[in-house]
């Protein structure tokens, strides 16, 4: 990011829209090495994981990945993460960059007497995301791993361009694709190898700007925008991640209480009916009454529409409701629409 006369500049290579469309139609390569990695190892790694997360980690076999949430005792979201089961008693947890230290301390604090070692291994890994409909074709030229049998949210260890990688069929774009974890020292070499292998398939490097527009079209939440320590999975539309069938986990009681009491606010998708982008923190109104705030917004490159996510009071959250967004003093009409905004 660069500052320019008070303008916040995008992180991009050739342009956000071009990179976005490349991922939707061909393929894009993201360097997401900023993401943090934490390892949990030991006889009670599963027990600890179950205790501090919302999803049911026991359902994962070795070689499976799972979207999950670390919760506090109020049911607030400490972070949203991906768990990789690398062994019966070992998990690799991919966490948001800005939360790495917070998560590590949080997990350590909750070990208690459990036989688990927790290690922040972020500095060891480079992470690249190869995303788009041609991702498999491109990756297949560099590895002997049979990608046709590697299912979504599964992973394996394999050599890619002779570099040892954890190859996961995961991503944050809504397209088919892979996330590759390798030794930090080999990162640049892997990047070059993938880019040249993908040249004939129109693979281009893509930046954080495109990563944001891609995830927004799919209404994937971003920590610090849709999610934070004071927001619960029920409010954020992540009830599907929260497995109340687990008898005990941090935040469970608070969430059950919230469920019984009823939600007061809810995350919704919005489509703007006038020009402008609804950006984070812009106020939402209905009949001149403040009903909530925008958390993320953009002009969708795939749909050509101005889309946004935001929290509104529960009684104002029904699909089809007309609201106004205060775009820097100008009231722009918008309506609540179903998410995801974009599907293939």
């Amino acid at each position: 990011m660069v500052e320019f006369a008070g303008w916040e500049m995008p992180v991009q290579y050739g342009g956000v829209i071009q990179e976005h469309l490349a991922v939707r139609h061909h393929a894009g390569l993201f360097d997401v090495s900023h993401m943090g990695e934490i390892e949990l190892r030991g006889a009670e790694a599963l027990e600890l994981s179950q205790r501090i997360t919302a999803n049911d980690v026991s359902r994962m076999r070795i070689g499976q990945a799972q979207y999950n949430l670390l919760l506090n005792d109020r049911g607030g979201i400490v972070d949203d993460v991906i768990f990789y089961r690398i062994a019966e008693d070992a998990f690799l947890v991919c966490v948001n960059a800005a939360n790495t230290d917070k998560d590590f301390l949080w997990i350590e604090k909750h070990i208690g007497q459990a036989a688990v070692t927790v290690e922040n291994v972020s500095a060891r890994y480079c992470q690249l995301a190869l995303q788009g409909p041609r991702a498999q074709t491109i990756l297949a030229t560099l590895t002997s791993l049979d990608l046709s049998t590697l299912k979504s949210f599964h992973f394996d260890f394999a050599d890619v361009a002779a570099i040892r990688c954890l190859v996961a069929r995961t991503g944050y774009t809504g397209e088919d694709g892979f996330e590759l974890y390798c030794d930090a020292a080999a990162g640049a070499q892997l990047w070059e190898a993938l880019l040249s292998a993908g040249e004939s398939d129109e693979l281009i490097p893509a930046g954080l700007g495109a990563r944001d527009t891609l995830r927004l079209e799919k209404a994937y939440p971003l920590y610090g925008h849709e999610l934070d320590d004071d927001t619960t999975p029920l409010e954020a539309g992540l009830a599907w991640v929260t497995k109340f069938s687990k008898p005990n986990f941090l935040g469970r009681e608070a969430l059950i209480e919230q469920k019984n009491r009823g939600l007061t606010r809810k995350l919704v998708g919005l489509e703007l009916l006038g020009p402008g982008i609804a950006r984070a923190n812009y106020e939402l109104q209905a009949q001149d009454r403040a009903i909530g705030r925008i958390t993320s917004g953009t002009k969708s490159p795939s749909l050509g529409k101005s889309i946004a996510l935001g929290y509104v009071s529960f009684e104002d959250s029904e699909i089809g409701k007309h609201v106004d967004v205060n775009v820097r003093g100008r009231m722009v009409p918008a309506k609540i629409v179903p998410v995801p905004f974009y599907s293939r």
């Binding site: 303008w7 020009p275 002009k299 101005s306």
Partner: protein
């Protein structure tokens, strides 16, 4: 990067083409490049008075929104009607088809505060240097943090 001779430039990266008492205003190639893909443009109404150093419109790209400041004062004679539906015209042709407004200059003395092409090119070079220095500083900060972790 191109900064045509004959235009006047502001520190906020607008250009002005003066023809008699009329001034045409847009944003520079440097500005459009820094903003990236422009997706919305807000323009004033015809007849509106714009005041030097006050915002008269806004340019919105996918990732950022920026006010556009009036480099000179005057009343709006014409706005570029192409822009609301084709905002990317500013990216494609910032000094030509991507012009934003045409005004009737109220005080020709306003022009004295603006730069010519050569001065502006120098100004942009300085801005880029500062940007790079900032990035270098950020990099070294990160290295220090890494050291602490070890």
């Amino acid at each position: 990067m191109e900064f045509p001779e004959g235009l006047k430039y502001s520190k906020e990266h607008e250009w002005v083409l003066v023809e008699g008492k009329t001034a045409t205003i847009g944003i520079t190639e440097y500005a459009q490049e820094e903003l990236g893909d422009i997706v919305y443009v807000e323009l004033p109404e015809i007849g509106e008075k714009i005041v030097k150093d006050d915002p008269f419109g806004a340019v919105e790209s996918v990732k950022a929104v920026s006010d556009v400041y009036a480099p000179v004062s005057g009343s709006v004679l014409e706005v570029n009607d192409v822009l609301p539906d084709n905002p990317e015209t500013i990216n494609d042709d910032p000094y030509g088809d991507g012009w934003m407004i045409r005004i009737d200059l109220s005080d020709p003395d306003d022009l004295k505060d603006l730069m010519d092409a050569e001065e502006y090119a120098e100004y942009v070079a300085q801005q880029k240097e500062e940007e790079e220095e900032e990035e270098d500083e950020e990099d070294s900060d990160e290295e220090e943090e890494d050291d602490e972790e070890k």
